[in-house]
């Protein structure tokens, strides 16, 4: 996981970066909010960011808001805000600005790493869900299904398709659904057809021209 660390205080970025690098994270450092936002807006931006609350020009919550506003296309990095100990009332505002978590400065290394691993867990879940949704969407596009209003001829029972052609109902069904049709004959039709056949044979007696 790549992590962005943004703080205008270099003691803070030093502690963050060194702690995270020791834990084998790939760390990028920004020294203010504008720089942080630029990095988060790049293609292939870090998926997790630790942002100081108070930075000149663009503060942490502003960066969160902007990242969330940009993230329409399913990009949802995990954002952790850094606040000082007496700014707890700001936490609500920070979370409302789009942060996922917060960390009180000066932090304990163990707590920092634990919160980062929570972020990793959420990111992994998110990624899993996104992959599943994509899979389902692909499957859905392949599923043929019949729904909505079908225009059907009252007499011959032909069905009009979207492209304005009339199809025999059996052809239409096998094209538009996964149903397989096995052709047969129902008793009323059998009775009607055999009567018609008898009638035809009566009117057209077979020519007995074949002789051996």
């Amino acid at each position: 996981v790549r992590i962005l660390v943004a703080d205008d205080d270099r003691m803070s970025t030093e502690v963050l970066a060194r702690t995270l690098r020791t834990a084998n994270y790939d760390v990028t450092v920004a020294n203010n909010g504008v720089e942080a936002l630029t990095i988060m807006q790049r293609a292939g931006a870090p998926s997790l960011a630790i942002l100081d609350w108070m930075m000149p020009e663009l503060d942490g919550p502003d960066v969160c808001k902007q990242v969330r506003a940009d993230g329409g296309a399913g990009v949802h990095p995990y954002l952790i805000l850094l606040t000082s100990r007496d700014a707890r009332e700001d936490v609500v505002a920070g979370l409302q600005a789009g942060a996922d978590d917060y960390l009180v400065k000066p932090f304990h290394q163990g707590e920092l790493l634990a919160r980062v691993s929570v972020g990793e867990r959420v990111l992994a879940l998110q990624e899993g869900l996104a992959a599943r949704v994509e899979e389902l969407q692909l499957a859905l596009s392949k599923v043929k299904r019949l729904s909505g209003l079908l225009p059907i001829c009252s007499y011959c029972k032909a069905i009009r398709s979207d492209d304005n052609y009339w199809h025999q109902v059996d052809n239409y069904l096998s094209e538009q659904s996964d149903a397989k049709l096995s052709h047969g004959i129902c008793p009323p039709c059998y009775a009607r057809l055999s009567a018609e056949l008898d009638e035809y044979e009566k009117n057209h007696p077979p020519k007995r021209s074949v002789s051996f």
Binding site: D8, D9, R10, M11, S12, E14, V15, R18, T19, T22, M54, P56, S84, R85, D86, K105, P106, F107, H108, Q109, G110
Partner: protein, 120 residues
């Protein structure tokens, strides 16, 4: 940077707890604090002199954050008070509070440089 063995103005034990006994990191943080401290104090001083409360608030906040990294309780508290005063617009009290902060920071810096400041 040498880590002071016994310090009254900062809590080395707290730093060790928070930073997993990473002596090199602790030493580097102390060094960074010393490097940045004078410039931060000058910025606050200039803001106090020109009555720019917002700059006083920002500078005091930054210094508070730096000092908090060293668990330097006295400096953190003095900077925090100065920050709130600037935020509330208490211009009259700011000079005196800045003087308190200066004293705290001087004692802290002296201790870090291993030249004990005169005992109060």
């Amino acid at each position: 940077m040498k880590i002071p063995t016994s310090a009254r103005h900062l809590d080395i034990a707290d730093m060790r707890r928070r930073l997993g006994d990473d002596e090199a990191l602790i030493a580097d943080l102390l060094g960074l604090f010393l490097e940045d401290c004078a410039a931060r104090m000058q910025a606050i001083s200039a803001a106090v002199a020109s009555g720019q409360l917002d700059a006083v608030r920002r500078g005091a906040h930054q210094l508070k954050g730096s000092a908090a990294n060293l668990a330097a309780g006295g400096a953190v508290e003095a900077a925090g008070t100065l920050e709130s005063m600037a935020e509330r617009g208490e211009a009259d009290a700011i000079d005196a509070q800045f003087a308190r902060l200066t004293l705290e920071v001087e004692q802290l810096v002296a201790e870090l440089r291993d030249q004990p400041a005169e005992r109060p």
